[in-house]
Symmetry: C2
Subunit: 429 residues, 2 copies
Amino acid sequence: MVPHLVTALTGPISELEQRILESVPAVERWFRLEWMEHTPPFYSSVDVRNAGYKVAPVDTNLFPGGWNNLSPEMLPLAVQAAMAAIEKICPEARNLLLIPENHTRNNFYLANVVQLRRIFQAAGLNVRIGSINPEITEDTLVRLPGGEELLLEPVIRSKYRLGLKNFDPCTILLNNDLSAGTPGILEDIHEQFLLPPLHAGWSVRRKSHHFKAYEEVAKRFGKMLGIDPWLINPVFGHAGNVSFAQGQGIEALQETVHTVLGKIRRKYKEYGIAEKPFVAIKADNGTYGMGVMMVQDAAELASINRRTKNKMSVIKDGQQLSDLLIQEGVPTIETIQGATAEPVVYMMDRYVVGGFYRTHASKGADENLNAPGATFLPLAFEPEHILDAQGHPTEPLPNRFYMYGVIGRLAMLAASYELEQTNPEAEVY
Amino acid sequence: MVPHLVTALTGPISELEQRILESVPAVERWFRLEWMEHTPPFYSSVDVRNAGYKVAPVDTNLFPGGWNNLSPEMLPLAVQAAMAAIEKICPEARNLLLIPENHTRNNFYLANVVQLRRIFQAAGLNVRIGSINPEITEDTLVRLPGGEELLLEPVIRSKYRLGLKNFDPCTILLNNDLSAGTPGILEDIHEQFLLPPLHAGWSVRRKSHHFKAYEEVAKRFGKMLGIDPWLINPVFGHAGNVSFAQGQGIEALQETVHTVLGKIRRKYKEYGIAEKPFVAIKADNGTYGMGVMMVQDAAELASINRRTKNKMSVIKDGQQLSDLLIQEGVPTIETIQGATAEPVVYMMDRYVVGGFYRTHASKGADENLNAPGATFLPLAFEPEHILDAQGHPTEPLPNRFYMYGVIGRLAMLAASYELEQTNPEAEVY
């Protein structure tokens, strides 16, 4: 089930949404059976784009920030889901060490850390924050504008365990996506639960692996529901060894872009969609919306300017960009107060616990909204009925957040497939 | 974790409550470990009495009605917990048959059935309502004052399975406490999940078994927390073969009452409590607050009037009363708008999903509130902070519903012990 949140959608319900809404029992049962075979990621968030004719995930985050953007009513759901996750993985847990990103001056990010601490404390754990930032060499108290305090403590590594001064956790929760590579201090920890596993970090993870797994999930789900998987799956391709700065690998990239655009064009024709196809070219290992460009024609890549070259060369934490995902661009039909919007779905264990809209006033429906200037709009719970003029409840309102919750969970399931396939310890069995 | 609900408590936090609030991680871990060994009842509700010096469960219901009294904000929590319960017990479930009580004209009860249907539908099941009322021989559509419709369908029994016309459920959820005995139509169902099991019905279940199990739970929890178990455990005794109508078994009953009152008196002395001890005499297999009387002195039982005799002779569904529980009376310090109040805690699987106050304007702090004239007051979620005059959040508010959630879960755990001990199929292993 997916909480009933107020979406900005007011238009008619599309055929796809109708199909999903009338199939709730079958959809939920399908997920239940999948979770018997696969372990959901500990937590995740998924950016979803709804083009009306299709709805698809465009990014799946296994170290979600932004928990502070969920409305307060959703906290109990997140806590209950956190309890379920802890119970399953490490019921004996007492102490949880939360390892945040290294940027210690971003108050929005730190508010997210405070919210995660709140969730796991309410779930019944002693939570402390351990920094792996080399600059944090002593206890550092940060006071946030909201009045909250956050104590960042330097982690202490012994031969087999990671902890803090006078704090020996049984579970270590990473909220640091390891873009800069897996630090040695996190390696060879076998006595403690390290969540998510290290190979979920962006120094190992590849978007193209994720969307390959998602393609498989979409096919199986589409078959169950009796729909063309393309309606929930963005076409994609992959190009390696690309350097915009040195003009290397551009031709192969153009070829892939051309192929992906062709596939989209055929689908648009099949469904009578009049829009102009485009692709998002993204760092295969990138995050934070960095290293993303939109292209309508492969020829554009022959003459990109210096600024774009720079943008496409270096991503988060100074990583060089060389592997690229070429993903079908899915326009968004959602707007809020005139700003382009896309839903972000938050999950803890197998449960959808909330969501919000990412909005951007100066970006179009076919642009990347995860860019400077984006704002976040928490979603409220929708009352199940609206009262009519006589004060009687009307027909129950459809849960229009449900479809987004389904897409979010499909992407989460794909992440679960992906982590199984890329598990370095899998050969042991 | 327990949702943070607004309680009526405004007085200072008692030593006991303080002890519980400062031990959240230890308490939650203790429950997690218990649930590794024991299976929680599918759903339950617990009446709790808070005397200030002690807090105790006084009744544990394994077929909870009153789900309609939970506030709408709690629905998502109940749904998420229902998903967890279904996933664990019968992940392959598609169809759920809900069997309600036989009273088909009680709109309050029927609103509860509608709410349960809503919860399990949102959890992703096809839900239909099957009546075992012999008067329901054809489909009966009931329209509730709120505009909701409820279709009661007669159940159909085949040799091995129970269902409805064109509806073969894999799971049967009882919301009928089987006070009148287990109907043959529910017996020998081995292919379908029947929840809760038949031996949870009041024709088999005994309050004295429950409170014996609760005593054990309270001892173990008290030891972990370092508190006297009496602070959370009502003293009790049991008397069998009592007939008030025929004056039978009264002396033995008086002796038990005397013993229980003596135990309470000693505890009152130990803690310097000035109140007058009393006991609640209750049908050992009763429910609905029927067959309950309060006694301060065993001598009172020698001269009870005809009206009380009648009250104590027949309970729900015309069952004869003969086995009695003699339970320490726990006064309630909670009042709402001048009416005496007691919290009722609702649980689904191992999770506290909500609660409400049962209030009664014409009953005292030492009386049974589960009586005609009682009203129900849904509890709202408490914001975590109150804003000060400058609009800044103050210190986090303590979750005063937490303690009630702990007591509710201790009673639920006791029910789990009780059902294990009374399981007729347990010898098989």
